[in-house]
Subunit: 272 residues, 2 copies
């Protein structure tokens, strides 16, 4: 099954376009997990237990796991095994490399760890996605217009009559058959998301930047002309519990936080 | 000691601006290493033994190591420990992320593994380098004009009177105090390297793309108006031996290949 079909299935099954960001930092997780052999992994399992029937999938930012060295590799692999098969998994790696290097990244993240999608930085051009998109059941999200302050440094430079991010989306949509390529847009760029989804309602979007990053979900949802979108929320959900809460209370607070975000997304739309 | 001072010292000591690329692929290394517990690591040690007095340092493309999972983390860490203190170490990670994510990358590659520099993808803007350059003894190489075919997709888009890669170099040179930021230019872009080094002779350059990638070293050297350059060569050196050679012959062939590349670089210049 390709990624878009999987997105469509889980969206209907769980009534959700929410991606829970497992940006797991051992310094921020509740104390109870620190007695286990791999705290990041055990924390992830608790988050998954609490949310797997009310979200569309999980995004793991690999920066957090690389910083844990061997334990991080184990946490990535075992977390991926723990996520139910019908949920989406996004490797937030922002990789952008070529040839053998890109093939190595595709090999580990897609073939060995089993992610079904990855985020890609477009700077070096379309060569960067070739090894990833030739795996037809896998998917890439190319950075287009990111939610950070310095996104305007280059992404909003104008070349001809288009911004750089528009050259990026145009070029990548012409790469391969275009079917397993989507884009990352920050939640703060509402009018740009409105324009893009109006002209490309079928293209998948990954949207970070709500919640802790303070952007307006109502305004975003009123301008999103697509069903193939995924909204990422991380800190507001995974760190909803207190440091000294017990396991049951931790799971309850995480679930309550995820339900609230999901209901906020769903409340603004007529779900199809 | 900052990176530029270290570069200057090792350049004089080893009469070399050569960086040996440890793009170590277990499928390509000689058979003799496969009996060891960590073949990539043992191979790297042999390359370092053969070249540490005739090169300026080593670049490790982390894609190759991530694909080895736990063994790759071990190979990275132990290889870094094995490289003599006065040689340069470059983490070729092409990372481009923000805030906590970038801080996690800086933590593992600079603080834990001990690299003294890292390659950075500039797409998301100058936010991407903040956690790296605030470590004043560390260095970043930002991708400017890369050696691959699709580098022209975006890097050579013109905005105003400058190409994107020129906006990148200009913007990053204004970030922080600019002293621990250099750039990656592919060896095929000789006239662009000539222009850049004429106006910025003090800024460090990392130049891949000679040798196996087929660009003309003579022409490059005639147009390089700087001493703070590092030329990377990988496959031509590290895979110089045959699959079934014995350890002494492997080391001899690797050393001979590295000496030849280094002499080719030095022969074209009056060293200072």
């Amino acid at each position: 099954m390709n990624f878009i079909s999987k997105l469509s299935s889980i969206r209907k099954k769980n009534q959700s376009n929410l991606i829970v960001g497992l940006d797991t930092d051992p310094l921020k997780i509740p104390d109870v997990f620190h007695s286990s052999e791999n705290p990041a992994l055990e924390f992830n399992k608790a988050v998954i237990d609490s949310t797997k029937d009310i979200c569309a999938g999980y995004k793991l930012n690999v920066a957090f796991y690389e910083n844990l060295e061997e334990k991080g590799v184990q946490a990535l692999r075992e977390t991926l095994r723990y996520i139910p098969e019908d949920l989406l998994t996004i490797c937030d790696a922002k990789r952008g490399d070529l040839d053998n290097s890109a093939e190595n990244y595709a090999s580990v993240y897609f073939d060995k760890l089993g992610f079904d999608s990855i985020t890609i930085s477009p700077y070096m051009g379309t060569d960067s996605v070739i090894p990833f998109i030739k795996r037809k059941d896998k998917h890439v999200f190319v950075l287009a217009l990111t939610s950070n302050r310095s996104s305007s440094d280059f992404e909003l430079l104008k070349s001809g009559d288009k911004y750089l991010y528009q050259h990026v989306t145009e070029k990548f949509l012409q790469t391969g058959d275009g079917k397993n390529i989507g884009f990352v847009f920050g939640a703060n760029y509402v009018s740009e998301i409105s324009d893009f989804t109006s002209s490309h309602p079928e293209v998948s979007l990954l949207i970070p930047g709500i919640g802790a990053q303070g952007n307006d979900l109502d305004e975003l949802m009123n301008n999103l002309n697509s069903d193939n979108f995924l909204i990422n929320s991380s800190r507001d959900i995974i760190y909803a519990a207190g440091k000294d809460d017990d396991p049951d209370l931790i799971k309850e607070k995480i679930r309550t936080a995820a339900l609230r975000v999901n209901e906020n997304i769903n409340g603004k739309r007529n779900r199809k």
